[in-house]
């Protein structure tokens, strides 16, 4: 067997141009599959990790009409305008003791203009509680974070990020300055830059944090809240979200029609993977056509090779080579040929995917099943399309084969 493989390499090496042209079909087919797979997989892996858990295993528990996720699918549903009743401190403390719960934050979110002198910015405005920064860490560049005193005494203080700072204070020096939001003054006590919310999907936007306790000053006491919980791992997000929603629902008054809910991640996952499957299907179609063409090329060349080597086959048979020996020799050659093509195709495909991911700034994902699958498939092509020529070779009659010039 090893001897056969060695002989195959010699023979392929002996016809470099012909062999490489023959391999081209297989190379292109495999390379296309690998490249597109790497790009699509990269996209969908990123989509999953962003969609589910916002990149840090965090999920929002949303207060909405009961049937939201049931009827309308992933994104539909009526969002209620009513805000939820205040969440009791004991509920929060209880949830924090649940297994796999890393943290929890209740915060407000909105978009409101902020001014400093004639400068204006339209930032994302967050009213954060004392646990928010544990879930969504920010790197302080200057100043300090909020203190307990800030929350308890309704201090009109603000943390702004570097984007908001550059818009409001083009000359810099923002710390301890006062900004104006809806006519209320807020003193800047700290400047942060968004911590590695690790994705190209987040465009750096101006962001201002206020203590959650001051939010009613701007938006009244019934402003809708956001509830976020962080799970210890991506596997437990769903469970943690559901447990949190259930606990919060316990405190709702009986006449309430809206409920705390979490998105059904399994369903979202399913929809994403259906999307992937559709892609894989189209891809598989394109790839099979090009691999079929490649395979026919291999068969053609193997038939030529059998004819060329008729005399060699005759000699071997005269010396006592049995049919299976000849069959194995040609089949090995065909499989070695397409396997080399497969390996080159895989490397080319990965190279192309890498290049695309660098130039088009897209994620890149090396899928081991796709690579090993492609390799096995390329060997399979060798077997399928090498079989006919090999059988032909093995059936040659020694007398006629020896006479062949």
């Amino acid at each position: 067997m090893l001897e056969n493989i060695r002989i195959s390499f010699q023979s392929i090496w002996g016809h470099k141009l012909r062999s490489s042209l023959t391999m081209l079909g297989v190379i292109i087919g495999i390379a296309a599959v690998i490249a597109i797979f790497a790009i699509i997989q990269g996209r969908s892996e990123e989509l999953k990790s962003n969609l589910i858990g916002m990149g840090n295993n965090t999920v929002n528990v949303v207060f909405e009409e009961a049937d939201m996720y049931e009827e309308e699918g992933m994104w539909g549903g009526e969002v209620t305008n009513r805000s939820a009743p205040p969440i009791k401190q004991e509920a929060i403390e209880e949830i924090l003791t649940y297994p796999n719960v890393n943290g929890m934050s209740i915060y407000y979110e909105g978009w409101q203009e902020a001014y400093h002198l004639i400068n204006v910015t339209h930032p994302k405005l967050l009213g954060i509680d004392e646990r928010y920064l544990d879930l969504f860490p920010a790197t302080m560049v200057e100043g300090r974070e909020f203190t307990e005193l800030d929350f308890d005494s309704y201090s009109q203080v603000a943390l702004i990020n570097d984007v908001a700072m550059s818009e409001l204070f083009p000359e810099g020096d923002a710390l301890h300055q006062t900004i104006d939001i809806s006519g209320m003054p807020f003193k800047i006590v700290g400047i942060f830059s968004d911590a590695e919310v690790d994705s190209d999907w987040y465009y750096p936007e101006p962001t201002i944090y206020l203590p959650a306790t001051t939010w009613p000053l701007l938006n009244g006491f019934d402003a809708p809240m956001q509830v976020a919980v962080q799970a210890s791992s991506s596997e437990t997000i769903q469970e943690v979200g559901t447990m949190t929603a259930d606990r919060l629902n316990m405190d709702l008054p009986p006449y309430e029609t809206a409920l705390y809910q979490v998105a059904d991640f399994e369903r979202m996952m399913e929809e994403i993977s259906q999307f992937d499957q559709a892609f894989a299907f189209i891809l598989g179609g394109i790839a099979s056509i090009s691999l079929l063409v490649g395979g026919i090329g291999v068969m053609n060349i193997m038939l030529v090779s059998v004819t060329e080597r008729t005399r060699e086959i005759g000699i071997k048979k005269a010396l006592g080579a049995k049919r299976h020996v000849i069959l194995a020799q040609f089949l090995t050659e065909s499989v070695v040929l397409t396997s080399i093509g497969g390996v080159i195709g895989i490397l080319t495909g990965l190279g192309i995917a890498k290049a695309i991911s660098v130039f088009a700034n897209m994620p890149f994902y090396v899928s081991v099943p796709a690579i090993s699958g492609s390799f096995i498939f390329s060997m399979l092509i060798g077997i399928v399309f090498g079989l006919l020529p090999s059988i032909k070779a093995s059936k040659l009659q020694p007398v006629e084969a020896l006479r062949y010039e």
């Binding site: 048979k317 010396l319 007398v399």
Partner: protein
């Protein structure tokens, strides 16, 4: 002791509806250790006879026994084994594989006989020594002269210690001087007791053998006269 016995051996080919006889009821005994030459002009059926003797082809009728074993079998793999173990071939155009070294060429019959690598190499090297080419073991056929190539193929023929050597015009592609050397190699082997059947159309070559029989129009003759051999 009789080694090969052909009994009423016939071979014919079908050409359309017509049956064309190539060999007509041939009977022949070859003794163990004999050096036999079969002579005949082209078209006489000598190549067909050689193919049947070499188990490369099957007779249409009649018997072929080698040491009382029946050699007429329809099974391809059985024939391959017979060729491999009992017969050593020497061809006019050598029939060496150009991409293999001399040693590898000599090894081939041993590979098909399932020999282990180390013993195979030793045995093949011994055969090359026998034909005086041990220093050319790593050369490929295109790097060898015609005489050297034929000696490699003789080494290949004897490496499996066959029952007999079947040589088809072994000097046909060589000049007279080189041909002489090849023939004396055959005589050497013959003196060691190897049975040799040589097919040729050259009287000078045939004279080196113990016995000459003639073939013409598919029939054997003891000499050039019209008397049938059998």
């Amino acid at each position: 002791m009789t080694m090969i016995r052909l009994k009423n051996l016939s071979k014919s080919y079908k050409l359309g509806k017509e049956e064309i006889p190539i060999l007509k009821r041939i009977s022949l005994d070859v003794e163990e250790g004999e050096f036999l030459a079969i002579m005949g002009p082209s078209g006489s059926g000598k190549s067909t006879l050689m193919n049947i003797l070499g188990c490369l082809d099957l007779p249409s009728s009649g018997g072929y026994e080698l040491e009382s074993m029946n050699m007429v079998t329809g099974q391809e793999n059985k024939l391959a084994d017979i060729r491999n173990q009992f017969i050593g071939f020497v061809f006019q155009s050598f029939h060496l594989l150009p991409r293999l070294t001399a040693l590898q060429n000599v090894e081939l019959p041993l590979i098909y006989n399932g020999w282990k690598k180390k013993e195979r190499k030793e045995r093949a090297m011994d055969a090359l020594k026998k034909v005086g080419l041990e220093d050319r073991a790593s050369f490929r056929p295109p790097q060898l002269s015609g005489g050297q190539r034929q000696r490699v193929s003789i080494a290949r023929a004897i490496v499996n210690k066959p029952k007999f050597i079947l040589a088809d015009e072994p000097t046909g592609a060589l000049d007279t001087k080189t041909g002489e050397q090849i023939l004396s190699l055959f005589q050497e082997l013959h003196e060691e007791g190897v049975t040799i059947i040589m097919i040729t159309h050259d009287e000078q070559v045939a004279k080196k053998a113990d016995r000459i029989i003639y073939i013409r129009d598919g029939e054997l003759f003891k000499d050039r006269s019209e008397d049938a051999y059998a």
